[in-house]
Point group: C2
């Protein structure tokens, strides 16, 4: 049975099922256009914890539990947790996994985490290594701001191309047990760096990676943008999305009619988020609420989910480096009943 197409794409013919998706977001995200679809909307970003980091970890743990619960699985039915987040040493993921008593793979793909965890999880399910895998990621506006940028108390001015880190977590259960939604193929991205050095313009930095991976997916699988109801990038934001569309046009793919971006979907322009949402909690919470629900309901039959990540660190930026970026693409299909 084929497990490989072209240079970068894996095929999952044995059945990789997306049993459940769970999401939890902050208050601002709950007030956005997708607010009704999230499982939990926090009233307060600290969520009764004494630090933003602890609140983020609690969100991560809550997403894991909720996804398992929705899939009707007990903790001991989970073979593996694959997760990561934006905090140094992925402390949200590893501290949340500590209480789950399951084998754990830590990953780091910046905001591409949700796609990377689904990709690895799909490989392991398709090859028979695992029955049920939890894939999850999170981000938190306030923990990310103080780690990557400035303390909130500093009140720095945001530039017009900046995006707003989503406070949110998303988790999915992948399984070999049949269900309505399944993952059929995926493309592993390369690190792409076109020399953008502005940490406040991550959309521009990540757009070439999105275009590269999407073009590789189309080429490897012989598919066309028209084969999808929706092509949805992780968190390029308004500017990055436009750049990716243009770059794909130059490569001969017209994605404009069916392309959207989780960073553009999660907030309304009136919410003062400049270019839109970002952070790995952005694509994770959008995928595991609105998108998963739309696939379950048959509104979408087939989507291409392409989460993007900017692999910069404050240290690399201070040392004058540009922003290496990556994007992994996952084809998710509704039931063929």
């Amino acid at each position: 049975m084929a497990v490989r197409a072209g240079k970068q794409t894996f095929i999952f013919e044995n059945g990789v099922y997306y049993l459940s998706g769970a999401s939890i977001v902050g208050k601002k995200e709950g007030q956005g256009p997708l607010g009704m679809g999230f499982d939990t909307v926090l009233e307060d970003d600290l969520w009764e914890e004494d630090s933003y980091e602890k609140a983020e970890r609690k969100m991560f743990a809550q997403a894991l539990s909720k996804a398992a619960e929705k899939a009707k699985l007990e903790q001991n039915n989970i073979d593996l947790i694959i997760g990561g987040d934006l905090l140094n040493q992925i402390i949200s993921a590893s501290f949340a996994a500590r209480d789950f008593n399951a084998p754990f793979f830590g990953i780091y793909g910046a905001c591409s985490n949700m796609a990377q965890s689904l990709l690895l999880g799909s490989c392991l399910i398709n090859a028979g290594y695992c029955t049920n895998i939890l894939c999850a990621t999170s981000s938190h506006f306030s923990s990310a701001e103080r780690q990557y940028r400035y303390p909130l108390e500093f009140g720095n001015q945001r530039t017009p191309t900046a995006q707003w880190t989503v406070t949110g977590a998303g988790a999915a259960v992948l399984s070999c047990v049949k269900s309505g939604v399944h993952i059929t193929s995926a493309t592993v991205g390369k690190i792409i760096d076109m020399g953008i050095k502005d940490g406040n313009n991550m959309g521009a930095a990540m757009a070439p990676a999105a275009a590269d991976t999407l073009a590789a997916y189309f080429s490897d699988t012989g598919s066309k943008p028209e084969d999808f109801d929706l092509i949805v990038t992780g968190d390029l934001g308004l500017l990055g999305k436009d750049i990716a569309i243009e770059l794909l046009e130059k490569k001969g793919y017209d994605v404009r009619p069916r392309m959207n971006d989780c960073g553009c979907m999660i907030f309304d322009q009136s919410q003062d988020v400049h270019m839109g949402g970002s952070g790995c909690g952005c694509s994770a919470s959008v995928l595991n609420s609105h998108l998963f629900n739309s696939l379950t309901a048959g509104i979408y039959k087939k989507i291409l989910f392409a989460a993007t990540g900017a692999m910069l660190s404050p240290t690399s930026s201070l040392q004058g480096e540009s922003i290496p970026s990556i994007c992994h693409a996952i084809c998710i299909e509704g039931a063929k009943i």
Copy 2:
């Protein structure tokens, strides 16, 4: 064909071959007992770069190139790079992968990185997703000190239980193409946290994770410590190694006669490293020099390589948290000719 044993162990029956191992270390490591076995020993830890971070990245890239070269592979024969390191946002791995033009998975398992990358790589090779995969990791004493502890200029006193972060990188090529050394099974670790809060005693924090994973390996596969020529943990150091041996004794496994630890092997006690070496470059450089060479030469027929990681961050420690730890175990065998 079986791909799974027990609750945490994967079996690789299709042939996962360890084509080559490459290592590069700093001057101090070169002066240690294993010094002769490394491919490259640096004279100067900055290696003509203007920051320790850039020197570490150069080591990572060099390890990748050298491993590919030893396996007689061109860049375009590499299907995937799996890598991570200790620096925030794994910048050594992602910046090194940028110049390699291959699909990339970023991982974070702290000092367990080498085992985690080999484990994932073995799954992907065994299932037919890839032909050749580069697995790599690195650490650097000076970049780690200033990120995790204090600026070097501060000249802080090291406690008796502290370990010395190895300046080193290691890379391996895994392949479905037959060669003398192969990976036959592996156990995915759980996050284990027994409440140790002292960041200068990571051996004690990680030892329970090592014992948990090794016991799971023996139990899942029905094997015994005596089946191995060497059981080698990642970087528990002198104290952590003793604790792990004791914990395994309590679980009914006598590993003492064949147990060693990369952190104890890489330095001599006269080198003033207290409990020994640490950092993901420690187990990576020892595995991809001395251990790989011993397997190739038939000195060892079968080893269990169990790299351990402490998933703490300076932030989690400052917030009063203990140290969640993890260990993945890989069974590597010499040729059965």
